[in-house]
Symmetry: C2
Subunit: 887 residues, 2 copies
């Protein structure tokens, strides 16, 4: 048989055909069983049927590939020889488990059959071998039950009912009160019930049992649960599962038996201390089901010192070998320790950071590995408010960690109500089975969102992440009753207006107002960041509009400001009326008057930011949004005018409002996103840009006179053509030079442009003649490249696209590399063809998203800029990009 046709991989007797590296072929479980075997760890022998067989099986109308049967037979022979037991041997039968095992863990989604090999004859052999007839028949009873359920697809509760009847008959309190006789009867009754319900005899032949079980496990790859799990978790359907056939070991044969699960370090805190639980004389399912309370792993030292020492030795061996925290399952059968599973341990963000730093200290891994081991996206958890882990919290349920951050508020079920009360200043949590575009306004006004259905890409999840709002999605334990305005969870009823707290960083939903803590960065975090900074070549700046944001960002390691939005300052309560005067000015003169009032205010804004940033570069974008954004709501005004007209009792007010309405309608645009905004305003009203630039340089100049350092960078937005930049740059340059001359100050500064339109990308060679730097505005660039606006798309068809897997990601969160990224590459290349030292950055939201940051590194950008709390994510991602580059 050629290598390509190998479908079955054996493990046992100290050596294995497979290894960890073959995870795609053998599944995670199979590959690690092989690896442990090769490491000399005691693993119950067995063999793995590859994922390839699963794929071929489905491709070929549910038929196995040729040669598989022979291979399984050969491996079964090998197993019988190794174990010294035969399948179906009446005296000492070989018993096996048949389990699934995919590339990526899909816990509980697929099927398992245990105790396979038992029949009316071999059960007696098992009884004799173990000296425990009750154990033998209980195992047999379980096998028949599982066979009916898993292989024949019968309802598991039917078998439970028969057991209940039997318990009544024997006055048994619990299952374990049933004696041998009762169990023997149950086996017979189960078999009869199977025959009656399915018309099929329970097979006595172990080989027939085996093949039926293998087919059932492969079949479970495509059960409904498994399919929707894969959809939710972006696992491709063509991967397939492997099937592991493994010798049974029992932790429930007596007091010298046991079973447990453990992590080599604490997965929650990262502490270097074994972490886990075990139960004596029990099966795996007993630990999980919670019927008996398991003991802490440390107590095993007293209970079974020899097994404990072996376990510790294995822990060390596994960590040394895998260089990472391991999550293991084990069984002790009559004093002998067997390892059933090992895999890389999942951990919280803070544990990941601590473990990485500790392992470097221990010499287990190098700094590069440590930096690469932290998933940047997970830092989000550490950088948002979260529920105080030390607080005593009344947890109601745990859903998906859909959008990080903790939030408390009164439960509200209706989006209109949430919008109304939220807008009025009340803190509410919107609770829905799921959300749709009609809920957007309610989501926007709520503190957070909780849904009982939907996954990480559901409407609620996508929209909440877009809004930067905490959300727990798919919290299936809660049961929403819209009519009675309440939800049920775990036997409790939570009514409208009761307080709950959600933590979107870990999916927890708790009752009442749980105490939260602000994000903080401990020394391990600082250590990882320091290493990241050593490796990365990409700069990291922040988007900040206030001195407070700027200070926060510096704390997080920002090296400058990549974007200050001057218009955010225009919205301040004391300024809006002046801004409105400016906009509605009938002539240049009146506009100039309003601008003269705004200038000193803007100057103070900039001064604060410059002071916070010191000598670091500060990029300030001149006015960008359409002017009517600063005006009152049009529809409200229209209603007011209509009312005044009908009532006819206040001519003067009517006139005033009508004038305002008319002015607004003159400015109104069909598509404001594509209207009179950005540098187009600067071209039409050069006096606005001149005012802003004067304010910038007055602020900078005054600080220079105070002996301080400042590095202003003036950025012109929304340039589509070089001529727009020429005109506005001239205005800016003139204003800057005038101020500097007036103040007698010399100052290095630069004037550049945002590249946020496709035309700017394809004509970047021309634009670079005037632009002293580029900054990609990927929010707008994404809108124009795709031809949909964020406002219109995100909560509506785009959420649906993502949920239906039409788009893999939300392009407003994860940079669209084939489209927007391609245009960026064209822009960088053309820009540098004109000005080869052109500084290029990005200031769209993508600047803080890991895969996008890595793209920016590869595309040759000089820096990324993102909101302050994402700065550490960007630093880490940038370091990983550089390390990946080296590889």
């Amino acid at each position: 048989m050629s290598e390509e046709q190998k479908y079955v991989y054996f493990f046992g007797g100290g050596e294995a055909d497979g290894r960890t590296g073959l995870k795609n072929l053998l599944g995670g479980k199979g590959a690690n069983l092989a690896e442990m075997t090769n490491l000399g760890i005691n693993v119950p022998p067995g063999f793995t049927i590859t994922t390839e067989v699963c794929t071929l099986y489905y491709e070929n109308d549910e038929n196995y590939p040729e040669g598989l049967e022979e291979e399984v037979e050969e491996n079964l022979d090998r197993l019988e020889n190794l174990m010294g037991k035969d399948f179906g041997d009446p005296d000492d039968p070989l018993l096996v488990s048949v389990r699934s095992g995919a590339r990526e863990s899909m816990p509980g989604m697929m099927d398992t059959v245990l105790n396979l090999g038992l029949n009316d004859v071999t059960v007696k052999g098992l009884a004799k071998q173990t000296g425990n007839e009750r154990f033998a028949y209980d195992s047999y009873r379980r096998f028949v039950q599982m066979y009916g359920n898993v292989v024949l697809g019968m309802d598991g509760s039917d078998f439970e009912e028969i057991i209940e009847e039997k318990k009544e008959e024997y006055n048994a309190e619990v299952d374990t009160d049933l004696g041998v006789e009762a169990l023997k009867e149950l086996v017979e009754e189960f078999k009869a019930y199977i025959k009656k319900e399915t018309g099929v005899e329970f097979p006595e032949d172990p080989k027939e049992q085996l093949w039926k079980a293998i087919t059932a496990v492969f079949g479970s790859w495509n059960n409904e649960r498994a399919i929707s799990y894969r959809n939710l978790n972006d696992i491709p359907h063509h991967w397939g599962t492997a099937v592991n056939v493994q010798t049974m070991v029992y932790g429930n044969m007596g007091e010298n038996c046991g079973t447990g699960v453990a992590f080599t370090r604490n997965p929650s805190t990262g502490e270097k201390k074994y972490y886990g639980e075990y139960l004596k004389n029990a099966q795996g399912e007993d630990v999980v089901s919670g019927v008996r309370t398991p003991k802490d792993i440390s107590e095993l030292k007293n209970d079974m010192p020899k097994a404990y020492d072996q376990l510790v030795e294995i822990f060390e061996k596994l960590e040394q070998h895998y260089k990472d925290v391991q999550d293991v399952e084990f069984t002790i059968q009559q004093g002998e320790l067997f390892m059933l599973q090992t895999r890389t341990g999942k951990r919280t963000a803070s544990a990941a950071v601590k473990i990485a730093v500790d392992m470097v200290d221990e010499g287990l891994i190098d700094k590069e590995t440590a930096v690469q081991r932290i998933e940047p996206k997970k830092l989000d958890q550490l950088l948002h408010k979260r529920i105080d882990p030390d607080a005593d919290v009344d947890i109601l349920a745990v859903g998906l960690d859909a959008s990080p951050g903790a939030a408390s508020g009164k439960v509200v079920f209706d989006s209109d109500e949430a919008a109304e009360r939220g807008d009025a200043g009340e803190e509410v949590i919107l609770v829905r089975t799921e959300t749709s575009p009609e809920d957007i306004h309610g989501m926007a006004a709520a503190q957070g969102v909780l849904t009982s259905r939907g996954g990480m890409t559901s409407h609620a999840a996508v929209v909440a992440r877009g809004m930067g709002k905490p959300a727990v999605a798919g919290c299936e334990d809660i049961d929403v009753d819209y009519e009675k305005e309440q939800f049920f969870v775990d036997g409790r009823t939570i009514k409208k207006d009761e307080y709950i707290t959600i933590d979107g960083g870990n999916g927890e939903v708790s009752y009442g107002v749980a105490p939260t803590i602000d994000p903080e960065m401990d020394e391990n975090f600082e250590q990882i960041m320091e290493w990241a900074d050593q490796f990365r070549t990409l700069g990291v700046r922040t988007n900040a509009d206030t001195p407070e944001d700027a200070a926060k960002a510096i704390e997080y390691g920002a090296e400058g400001i990549g974007l200050t939005r001057t218009e955010h300052m225009f919205f301040a309560e004391d300024r809006l009326p002046i801004v409105q005067d400016m906009i509605l000015a009938a002539d240049k003169e009146t506009r100039k008057e309003a601008l003269d009032k705004l200038q000193p205010m803007q100057k103070e804004d900039f001064k604060g930011i410059f002071e916070a940033m010191g000598a670091r570069p500060v990029t300030i974008r001149l006015l960008d949004p359409p002017l009517h954004e600063f005006l009152p709501d049009h529809d409200e005004l229209l209603v007011e005018v209509t009312e005044l007209k009908i009532k006819g009792n206040d001519e003067e007010k009517l006139k005033e409002k009508q004038n305002m309405l008319k002015a607004m309608e003159r400015l109104e645009e069909v598509n404001p996103m594509l209207g009179h905004r950005g540098c187009r305003l600067g071209v039409s009203y050069p006096e606005i840009y001149a005012m802003q630039v004067r304010a910038i340089f007055e602020a900078a100049g005054e600080l220079v006179l105070e002996g301080k350092e400042v590095t202003p960078e003036v950025m012109i937005p929304l340039v589509s053509d070089i001529s727009e930049l020429e005109i506005t740059k001239e205005v800016a340059k003139k204003a800057a030079e005038e101020v500097l001359e007036e103040l007698g100050v010399e100052l290095d500064y630069s004037i550049g442009t945002m590249i946020e339109l496709p035309r700017a990308c394809v004509t970047a060679d021309k634009i670079a003649k005037e632009a002293e730097f580029f900054s990609f505005g990927t929010n707008d660039l994404t809108q124009t490249t795709y031809g949909f606006s964020r406002d219109d798309a995100e909560g509506k068809f785009l959420a649906q696209y993502i949920e239906d897997n039409i788009f893999e990601d939300n392009p407003f969160q994860v940079l669209d590399q084939p489209g927007v990224g391609e245009l960026m590459k064209i822009g960088v290349e053309k820009g540098r063809s004109t000005r080869n030292d052109l500084k290029v950055g990005i200031c769209g939201e993508h600047g803080g998203e890991p895969s996008s940051v890595k793209f920016c590194h590869r595309a040759g950008l000089d820096y990324v800029s993102c909101s302050p709390f994402r700065v550490p994510i960007a630093r880490l991602s940038a370091a990983q990009a550089q390390l990946e580059d080296k590889e």
Copy 2:
């Protein structure tokens, strides 16, 4: 002196330094004077100072380049030698004219000095030589007057006043009544006035006169008039003018003298017959000023047979040499014919067509040249309604031909009024001094627009062309009085509500309702088109939504339909309510019901179009616009609801309207252009696309069963990602196959996509996997590439951009080659990298604009598609592109 330093070019004595090919250096006049001289035509000798001198003069702070003075001296010597006359010779003085002459004619914009060389001494020599003392002093008087005006910048009317006084003194009726004495006195009085006003003596030295005049003419390049003319006509300011110094000849020396202007063929009709006017014993300005009525050129044959025969000989020689119609000026001095100017004759579109065809017949040019000689844009004149040239029309004034087409209507001055009355069905012409964004609604509702100010790129012109609406702009003879609601023209007053007619094809404004004629294509036109079709390789299709449009387009030579907009059919009165039902449907079921009603209607639409087109390909685009476009006006409804609320007298109606309003607000989008439209609708509501495709194939199938041929092409709009095309194409394919199977018909068809988003261009390689053809939708592609919407930009800041020369053209009319074109090239290249025989077309408005059509040819497109009346323009442009390619 090296060749590069040659600043002065001599002509005369049968040979010249220059030639026609040096037009950029010598200006049009100078180059053609040289060329005629070389052809042996009798041209008064002289020399040309190059345009380069003008440029250097301005670059060098109004100083002449070194060596110029010497060169002028040398050429003056040469001229004196050739003429046998000396500058300042008391007996027989050399007299010259000094005239401007730019690369492109700027008629009347720059200055001229005649009779230069006269002074108190030489005037006597001139009197003696001509035996005409009055002529000599009249010439002298004119020179002094012109010198004061042109060289010294004095007001011309001051001199006219002095003449008037003199006429009173001598009881003279007209200038010519003034005798020698009076003229002598005038010369003295002019000189004294000059001295008094400017402090400068009139120079007696002819050389000083010459240099002052040369400088004045160079100076006139930058007078206000000339600058604004260049701005209006897109002539670069750095070109500069040449200066021609030429021996004077006189047509006013007696009855054997004369002067005239002529075309070698009729420039209005193209007829092969000399066309022009002359005056005996007159100067050029007399022909132009209209004081005396000139005679038809044919009468010269009787008046001066010898001169006439020479002129005819020269006409033939010039046409044979230049291979084109010539526009000439000539003077007959004492029986001797001198040619003063020749240039290519301007002509109307229909003349251009006739002349080109005739010249091919005459063997003067070949078919290639004929096809290249027609300016495609000018065909617009022939393809729009125009005023019947045979009608007796009361022409009020002539302005700029800003947007072709003829229209009649009542004069209205206020845009609000024009909008109101126009919308109510009245035919009005909006008359304004100029238009601004506030006039858009009035322009849209009027039949046509007339402005008294602004050029070819003024707001009115740009917007009217965008709307396809007739407009005459910059009609400076009319004087608008808004207050009295009337305008004055040529001494007449036209009041509001009087009828006028404008013809935007030739700029004519006439009184009353002038009879118009529909465009028609004569045999010459057909001939040019036939030749064009022989040369072109680019296909030409049409955009058509009705069988009538389709038929019209076939008449104009369309080879297929490139775009049928199915939504235009949805707006029909009987369908809109059903469409609204479909949109507001609460569930799929109700929507399906509405769709079922629409389907048979759509089928009939398509059947009509297929029948009109026969076997030619018909590309049908599935539903594209956002659904709320089909709903009533939001603001009106809001006002209605508010009124109903306050009045509180019709609860039921209020409820109904509120529900409608709510449904509308659900569909409402912030930026509809970037919203839920195009294939996004097809993804969300596959049943809509399925209905449309069923209708297409039922129509096609039924025609096939009737034995007819049809070639349907289904086009999916607004694809940004391959996945959208996959989904909608599957829906379309399924619907098509079902219908064809039901009908038992076999039919070749294809399914393709519009490429109208930047992302579609940069991912065209992926999209071409599914798309069987591409069609560039350059309207939307222009919007997204520039990031501005046509609705918001065109009448507003974009018009201003064009007027201020920030943008050269309106990118919605003329394809933006560096931006949008670059993305198209990327799209074509990537698309064909996947599917090398991919058919690629364009169906944006650019498909009928000459420079854009040529770009499409060069970019390797298979066809362009445009509105029916532009099909001939596209055919001609395509042919020219191919011929340019060959060169």
